[in-house]
Symmetry: C2
């Protein structure tokens, strides 16, 4: 046992933001209660209402979290990127999943069992702190989404979304690649795909952006932010 090589799971876990800084023994313990899961594009990982299995760490790929409606439509709540965790909130409550999760790209995930996670948290204040920060972050993001969906018009929502994707060193002009399909983004913004398309067309017509498929060039970020109607 002493000379055992680090398991691939431990290796993977050690590289995830949530677990960075943990000691090898702790990681090994968590790894013991975990398993790798692969999913291909479009696969449903779980449905709203399903009984939770544990927390998932997304290592590679992209996952869409959404609320299904009675009429078969959906509201996209969050897009998970590598390094993100999801299904964790449910570990601390005894409730079914509040959202549906679907892979939007081929995915590699780690499923950490409820029990291992709780044990790890009990023994490690730093991990608890990180977990609290992570949940708080999700709360803030959701509040932002709420703000976008309820207090803004369709144009403002799109402008807001584009502005959030601006590279950090804010030049007036920049190019972005939409992080998901236009339908998905439309749903995140609580817009019909048609409306999203029209707004982009409208902004392009006003000379503020150029749209080429998923690639969007913002020509003047200031004018864009101040655009009305």
């Amino acid at each position: 046992m002493l000379t055992e090589t680090r398991s691939p799971l431990v290796e993977i876990l050690s590289r995830q933001p949530l677990f960075r800084g943990l000691m090898l023994e702790e990681l090994a313990l968590i790894a013991q209660g975990s398993r790798e899961i692969r999913a291909q594009k479009n696969e449903i990982l779980f449905q709203k209402g399903d009984e939770p299995e544990g927390m998932r760490v997304l290592v590679m790929g992209q996952v869409k979290l959404s609320l299904p409606s009675a009429q078969g439509s959906e509201k996209v709540v969050h897009m998970c990127e590598p390094g993100a965790t999801f299904g964790e909130a449910v570990v601390f409550l005894d409730k079914p999943y509040p959202v549906t999760a679907q892979a939007t790209q081929d995915c590699l995930m780690v499923l950490v069992s409820k029990q291992s996670l709780l044990e790890a948290l009990d023994g490690n204040a730093m991990l608890s702190r990180k977990m609290l920060a992570s949940l708080s972050m999700r709360l803030h993001e959701l509040l932002d989404d709420m703000e976008t969906c309820t207090l803004r018009t369709s144009s403002q929502r799109v402008i807001c979304f584009l502005s959030h994707l601006a590279p950090s060193g804010q030049p007036g002009q920049y190019e972005i690649l939409l992080p998901a399909s236009k339908q998905t983004i439309a749903s995140q913004l609580n817009l019909a795909p048609e409306t999203f398309s029209r707004v982009l067309g409208h902004l392009a017509g006003a000379g503020l952006i150029q749209v080429k498929g998923r690639s969007i060039r913002v020509l003047d970020s200031d004018k864009l932010r101040n655009f009305t109607s």
Copy 2:
């Protein structure tokens, strides 16, 4: 010191759900980093964007958490009732408050400093667990609100809201008292006050409810839930 009577703050804290089960010494430590705050009805406790001071525990009264809009309107995000905590998410991030808090009744609160809270959490896995559960709960509630605001029509939102207020032993008929002003509830449901009023009128016209000020009598919960248009 050994014979010191329990401070009123410790007394108060010990009765809050989050701190129930803690040992007296731990409570005393938290109390040392805390202070009582009183606020009268309509007083603003903090604004979105303000620098956070710590976590608040609502002991008595009612607090409205809302997102202000550029045009002076607001979206009510949550109504806090006694025993609830708020402003905690911000303790784990270094960000300004994401919402505005206003007393909607005369309030008694305890403000727990960031430092005391973090120290208490570091030393107590059970408290961490409770805190994680509390944040998870808020996340679930917000998701529910999101669902209500984005996937339902005005009537469905109101029906959903009324159904949530039904007493547990679900009889077909029950009476409820609205937990806040109609404008506030309308904002929570992302409806104009006029629309909320009209929907209530509509439901009353259909013989499903009776409205007398803030008191609403639901005449048939099943019919109400299945009501369309």
